[in-house]
Amino acid sequence: MVSLMETRTAKELAEVASESDVDRKAGARYPGSVRAQGRFWQARWFIVVRAFSVFIGIWYLVALWVASPIQMPSPFKVLEALIALGRTGELFDHALISATRLVISLVISTLIAVPLGFLMAMNREANAFIDPIVELLRPISGIAWIPLGLFIFGVGGTLPIFIMAYVAFFPLLLNTIDGVKSIDRKLMSAAETMGVSRSARLLHIAVPAALPSVMVGFRIAFASAWAAIIAAELIGSPSGLGFAIEWYRQLLMSPKVFAFIAMIGAIGYLCDLGLRTLQHKLTPWAEGMGIGQ
């Protein structure tokens, strides 16, 4: 439940809540929500554009009022910086470095956490031995490993990968365990009565049943890793997006700081969108199991 909420937006949650409400009583309707189709000012894209226009407008006014390009650059300055950084390729260089680190660490984490999760969920002995050490390490956030990691790996690319892999490991592991444990025993028994072999049961029942939960875990893992990489690069790496924002902060080149921050948000948003689409494609049965979106 907690994990679900971490991957859903407030609006989605609200809509899920109100829709299930409508279902329960035919009489329950929201008087204000009756809308005709085709009116552009009620379309989703228009609402988004309007919201951003207002936001940028307020930002512009604040920038005027603050009147300090270092503390609060205007949106146009930031746009200029974004274009300039894009032209020189610097924006994409740093982004590519961070993204590569992200992919490497997620692959490492998945390769360890998912098989381990299956083992711990299916074998009580393994769980009894391994779970305590997982629970001992889990409260220690990835960030707290940075100083020790700096000492072990030095300033460079290995530290962010280590931190991200560590951070991504726990949600993946816990959600895998959850997913495997939630497998309906009756399905397993049903397959047994049909003479399905053990390996086929694993492949055709356990894996599909656990996959929705693993995907949720993967999305949380991505989100945590993407948050952690900024800290790791900011403190202990000579490259990447986290490094770039701090570098330009020291140079007091605020528009570029803002531009890189926008890039961090954009990549985070797009990756999550991609993962969501993947989730729908890969596990279309998830919703029926109560693990939506």
Binding site: K25, A26, Q37
Partner: protein
């Protein structure tokens, strides 16, 4: 019953005139007529049951009487006054009880007295007495401090009933209140419901009840009159007088008249019921 000998029955308690309700689907704009041309008088002190196939708009009618839904056409009056919105004089017992999960049995029963209009002018002690009175009446003494999740379905139902009565409504609107219970509990509570309603009391002292159910035998057992609804759109297809004398005992279920009436009602909705599941 001889209508001519009853003096003040000229004005019905509730009067529904050509009531209709149309829904517009939010996205598609598609219109559905849930209830159409629904005309009915409910007499004061009467126990009226509405039966009909699933989705025939029974609950919609009840919600409109309660003021929770607005009719799209026609008019609903209580004691000659137009019904505008929900009010404590028309108490509702919801299908899933709608008990406040964070309130104990006592606080659930006293909710309306404490926060709503029924408690106006009452001292805390008076409120307390009233809560205790109804808690005892429905047989929940000793369970006052429990939370809803600690209660069985039958007990929750009793809490909902006590809460309904504690607010002192004139009209009791009940939306399949026994629907979620097992068969035995339901039969026990039907008898108890009649006792609490005041079956043994003078007719003038009884509350007016509109009771929604899909159980035909339940309707026959409880009601003075049964309104049979048909669906698509929901409308009155027949009104049947239940001429079984009160007070009613369990034994009436095996009487021939009981069987006749159930069969009569069943024959009225059978076709639609089959269609609904086909």
């Amino acid at each position: 019953m001889n209508v001519a000998t009853m003096p003040s029955k000229a004005q019905p308690k509730l009067r529904l005139r050509n009531v209709s309700k149309e829904y517009v689907a939010p996205r598609t704009g598609q219109r559905t007529l849930a209830v159409s041309d629904f005309t009915l008088d409910v007499r004061a002190g009467e126990f009226l049951c509405i039966v009909g196939p699933s989705g025939c708009g029974k609950s919609t009618v009840l919600n409109m009487i309660a003021g929770l839904d607005q009719p799209t056409g026609g008019d609903i009056e209580m004691d000659g006054h137009h019904v505008r919105g929900p009010g404590a004089e028309r108490g509702v017992m919801f299908q899933d009880y709608a008990l406040f999960p964070w309130k104990s049995v006592r606080d659930n029963v006293g909710f309306g007295l404490r926060h709503g209009t029924p408690g106006a002018g009452l001292t805390a002690a008076e409120r307390n007495d009233r809560v205790n009175h109804f808690v005892n009446m429905v047989g929940l003494a000793g369970a006052e401090a429990k939370f809803p999740h600690q209660l069985s379905g039958g007990m929750k139902q009793r809490v909902a009933l006590a809460r309904l009565l504690a607010n002192g409504p004139d009209v009791l609107l009940m939306d399949e209140p026994l629907g979620a219970l097992d068969a035995q509990t339901r039969m026990v509570l039907q008898v108890e419901l009649l006792r609490i309603w005041g079956e043994a009391a003078e007719e003038g002292d009884r509350k007016t009840v509109v009771f929604i159910t899909h159980g035909i035998d339940e309707a026959v057992f409880l009601a003075d009159r049964v309104v049979v609804m048909s669906s698509h759109p929901g409308r009155v297809s027949a009104v049947i007088d239940i001429d079984i004398p009160r007070p009613r005992r369990e034994s009436i279920r095996s009487e021939p008249r009981f069987g006749q009436l159930t069969d009569e009602i069943w024959s009225l909705i059978r076709d639609e019921a089959y269609q609904a599941i086909a």
